[in-house]
């Protein structure tokens, strides 16, 4: 039981500043102590409750949503607790804790990869969406086939083919890391292209017309009217796509990029402790994706109110 405190410390540092308990394992899994759950439910219920407050000014509904979140958390925790107990697994966190720096490095690399890929894939996506609207037919076909081919093949296959085939074959002089980011951006760009296209097509014909009527040029129409409107429409799905991007980056481990997943796999192979390696891995992704997901929810409801 003593080693479990290590896990407790990791979690304390990562998520719950004020956590302190006598029976850490139990409290971890059951999420029974106040500090633990309160923090989490605050995160979970925040956007929803602030919205409700605006709508009806009711605080009892906020209380209810906290209670519901608590209950769900309790059940899920109990379920996992039961499952792991039945395994009769020999928990030992000391090994993975020794390699905590590896987790942190991987986590930071994942953030870095995701951020660069986000920017790059946005460029690809917007470029492809505009090409798809071009009056020049080959550009339209190029955009169409890019989107369809990328969306219809698994990312894993793309990574293997593009990295071992194209990047190495053409001797592009790109290192592993940059190739990985580039491939991920190409993949993600196809999805962003569709999101942006939908956003642009969502701008009503009458607004194009009236832009033309007041004398805006084509470029000005995009700059001052279409993009601002399309961006608002696309923001929730774009945020959702960013979540996917973060998760998809885990597949880059197959070409040996030292992101979170690969590093967790390494820790597992050093320590022979799969759960102690993969649970922090899951937590690392959750820490990145959960806030974005919640923010997406918030955005969706916000835009629903506006229309």
């Amino acid at each position: 039981m003593k080693e479990l405190c290590w896990w407790n410390q990791v979690k304390t540092k990562l998520l719950l500043a004020e956590f302190n308990g006598n029976d850490p394992f139990r409290q971890n899994v059951l999420a029974g102590s106040g500090g633990d759950t309160r923090r989490l439910t605050e995160v979970v219920s925040q956007p929803a409750s602030s919205l409700q407050r605006k709508k009806s000014g009711s605080y009892s509904r906020q209380g209810f949503s906290i209670l519901s979140a608590l209950l769900v958390l309790l059940f899920v925790s109990a379920f996992f607790f039961y499952a792991f107990q039945s395994l009769a697994y020999d928990w030992n966190w000391s090994g993975p804790w020794k390699y905590r720096q590896l987790f942190l490095n991987g986590w930071l690399n994942t953030i870095y990869i995701a951020c660069v890929a986000l920017v790059l894939s946005s460029v690809f996506g917007v470029g492809s969406a505009l090409a798809g609207r071009s009056s020049f037919r080959p550009l339209r076909y190029f955009s169409r086939s890019y989107v369809e081919v990328v969306r219809s093949t698994p990312l894993l296959v793309q990574i293997l083919v593009l990295y071992y085939g194209v990047a190495q074959g053409l001797n592009l002089g790109l290192d592993r890391f940059s190739s990985g980011i580039l491939i991920l951006s190409i993949f993600n760009g196809a999805y962003i292209s569709e999101i942006v296209r939908a956003g642009i097509e969502g701008v009503s014909k009458s607004l194009w017309e009236s832009s033309r009527d007041i004398g805006l040029t084509g470029v000005q129409t995009y700059r001052y009217v279409v993009f601002p409107l399309a961006f608002r429409q696309s923001l929730p799905p774009l945020a959702g796509q960013f979540v996917s991007l973060i998760k998809d980056s885990s597949l880059l481990s197959v070409i040996g990029i030292a992101e979170l997943t690969l590093n967790a796999q390494q820790v597992q192979s050093f320590t022979f402790k799969p759960f102690e390696s993969y649970l922090p891995l899951a937590l690392g992704y959750l820490l990145l994706t959960l806030p974005i997901s919640l923010w997406t929810r918030h955005l969706e409801s916000k835009f629903k109110y506006e229309t």
């Binding site: 009458s206 009236s210 033309r212 009527d213 004398g215 805006l216 009217v225 601002p228």
Partner: protein, 243 residues
Amino acid sequence: MKLELQNICKQYGDHVVLDSVSLQSNAARVLVLIGPSGGGKSTLLRLLAGLEATDRGRILVNGFLVPTREKELMAYRRTIGVVFQAFNLFPHLTALENIELPLQKVHGLSAAEARERAVDLLKRLRLEDRGMQPPSKLSGGQRQRVAIARALAIRPQVLFLDEPTSSLDPEMTGEVLEVIEELKAEGKDLVLITHEMGFARRVADEVVFLAKGRILETGPGEGIFASPQSEECRRFLEKVLKY
């Protein structure tokens, strides 16, 4: 305002919308187009406003030939104002920004000049307290007045209004028509499509009756409403004035 139409033709696919329309109007300040739906009123206004090019024929506005090539049409459009039935304000901009956008980006005014002109116009249209609000927070009548302000801000040689009150309830219709009357009193040149026959009669210097892609009758407002010459016009007026 001088308007001259010479054998204007316009068709979409096989559908002939305007069939050799000619008109000579020299002195009218306010020209009102009336007629049944699908008769070509809106299309004629779009051609006059330079939103589309004619297939055949020539249009002269104040002696200048309305061009047919897109690039020259764009330059022409910058000298006129158009107000649509559906307002067509930009939903992501405030009322003031809606008015300022064309002033700054198309007509090259500085931000301060544009703001001054926009504030001034909103004041004249009794919307001074609405400037900071987006269209979604305005009533229909207020939106249409902002749209009129946007069209007026560029100081157009002619203001075209395509059924500006058709999507408004009676009360709001009143406030928009009031504004149009004020514009007439100020000496602005207007071309207006409307189904408000009482208003058309009062405000029009000249009325043009369009049906089936042809101008069937034209003349001073009083004349047409009192004693329509053509059978179509008589029937149309009977129908719309019945209620």
